[in-house]
């Protein structure tokens, strides 16, 4: 998506990216970025929280108007879980001794499924 934003900017169209994967967007490099430190899935605000969605979307509009240089990142003030905000961060794509074997097995299973699909000519890639 950041590559698309860059393409539009190069063609003379102003853009702003709204997202929660800060490192991916900033490594790719975009002109304007509204960053919300949430689990991936709700980059424009929590579900059913209309007030929050309005603030976050409004910040994207502010940035369109006011940014004067590329790589302008604006972090929104919201916190996902005020009690235990590291919980979701640690849980997502966790790799530790509790699941290492299961992950290796899941990878083997997926490769086997892909190999048999390929043999049947199902892949178009």
């Amino acid at each position: 998506m950041s590559l698309v934003a860059r393409h539009l900017e190069e063609a003379g169209l102003p853009t702003v990216v709204m997202g929660s994967a800060r490192d991916i967007v900033e490594e790719c490099g975009v002109s304007r970025f509204v960053y919300t430190d949430f689990p991936l899935g709700n980059p424009t605000g929590k579900p059913e929280d209309l007030e929050m969605q309005t603030v976050i979307t409004g910040m994207a509009l502010d940035l369109l108007e006011r940014a004067w240089e590329p790589r302008t990142t604006l972090q929104t003030p919201f916190v996902w879980d005020a009690e235990r905000n590291d919980g979701w961060r640690e849980h997502f794509m966790k790799v530790d001794d509790s699941n290492r074997e299961a992950l290796a097995a899941a990878g083997d299973q997926r490769r086997a499924a892909q190999a048999s699909a390929k043999a049947e000519g199902k892949n178009r890639g």
């Binding site: 900017e9 991936l40 969605q53 979307t57 108007e65 979701w88 890639g125």
Partner: protein, 169 residues
């Protein structure tokens, strides 16, 4: 909030996490994420309350997904559709997001069509375009840059957009 000290950055690095996660699944070759030093920048050329704004999402309309396809096998194409047709929600269960901690049952939590229409009603923006666009989260930078991005630009020109908000899930 109390002051805190940490040995690691607090926000999640998805580049680090995904490399470790897929490495643990036996994929030795890490994904090569896009990196650029230089970044293009176009300023807004007219007041925001005169601008027609467009939206781009990585979600699609519900479709049959081939779960055995190899990641990056190009089964999705960029599309343009009426915003009104998205109001019932879009399909994104096949995308990479935190299904254990949240959900995407509220469209405006990942594609703020209703919030932007409210901003248009209030005169903060000129209007929200009648169409929005969808772009695949493609494994291939080449396909994104050479096929998808030019197509989105073409849609944006057809709709005479003045600025674009892109929201990856």
């Amino acid at each position: 909030m109390t002051a805190d000290r940490r040995t690691h950055r607090s926000y999640v690095s998805y580049i680090d996490k995904s490399r470790n996660y897929y490495g643990a699944q036996g994929y030795p070759q890490a994904y090569q994420w896009a990196y650029n030093h230089d970044v293009p920048f176009t300023p807004l050329t007219k007041p925001l309350n005169e601008c027609r704004i467009g939206l781009v999402t990585t979600s699609f309309f519900e479709r049959k997904v081939d779960t055995t396809a190899v990641a990056g096998s190009a089964t999705k194409e960029p599309y343009a559709a009426q915003c009104d047709d998205a109001l019932g929600g879009l399909y994104n269960k096949d995308l990479f997001w935190d299904k254990d901690n949240t959900h995407t049952d509220d469209l405006d939590s990942y594609l703020p069509i209703n919030r932007l229409r409210e901003f248009a009603d209030q005169g903060r923006i000129g209007s929200l375009a009648e169409r929005f666009y969808g772009v695949p989260t493609d494994y291939s930078h080449r396909r994104t840059s050479r096929r998808d991005a030019p197509q989105i630009l073409e849609f944006a020109r057809e709709d005479e957009l003045d600025a674009v908000i892109l929201v990856p899930l």
